[in-house]
């Protein structure tokens, strides 16, 4: 039961990753690409959490937490760069 749900979950999240990636390639403008990267890292957190349940290992949690923190900093940095043409104040 759980096994099947996990496999379906892997499928859905993988399609989500693919769609975000297509938007990243297509993306007509820079903000679209930033948004696509933002979604991409959130999707990869979802995939890592599912993998953690699948392999019954808590190790994936650390990776997910790191991706969450670094992804947020990356998004903020890129947006700030667009706003000011410079990251530091």
């Amino acid at each position: 039961m759980l096994e099947t749900a996990l496999l379906i979950g892997f499928g859905l999240v993988s399609v989500a990753l693919l769609l975000s990636f297509l938007r990243l390639i297509k993306g007509p403008d820079v903000p679209d690409r930033i948004l696509a990267l933002d979604t991409l890292y959130i999707n990869s957190i979802a995939l890592l959490v599912l993998l953690g349940i699948y392999f019954k290992s808590a190790l994936y949690f650390e990776a997910a937490l790191l991706i969450a923190v670094m992804g947020f900093v990356g998004t903020i940095g890129l947006s700030k760069y667009l706003l000011r043409g410079d990251i530091m104040e």
Binding site: L6, I8, A16, D29, T39, K56, A58
Partner: protein
Amino acid sequence: MFEWVLSTLIIIGAFFTLVGSIGLYKLPDFFMRLHGPTKATTLGVGALLIASALYFSFKIDDISLHEVLITVFLFITAPVSAHLMAKAAIHIKLKQVDRTQNKMNSTTTR
């Protein structure tokens, strides 16, 4: 019974994650695309993380709550990054779909 709850949470979470990405892919302009990932995706990942916390608490040995940390972190950061991206998009005068009401063509606020 417990497996059913877990499976439902996982399917719901994965589904909402997918909905967010579908929104990102198919909506016509940037400001509309912004809605998909900020809402749908946060709830999707939230549901998955709750499933993970439940699974590790009840199936493996003892209580595991650190997934709550990622959930809270995502709920705090998602609106902040959405706000900054929207601000940047307005700043560089990104095109909006023609049927948008009260279009923002000039940056009056900055």
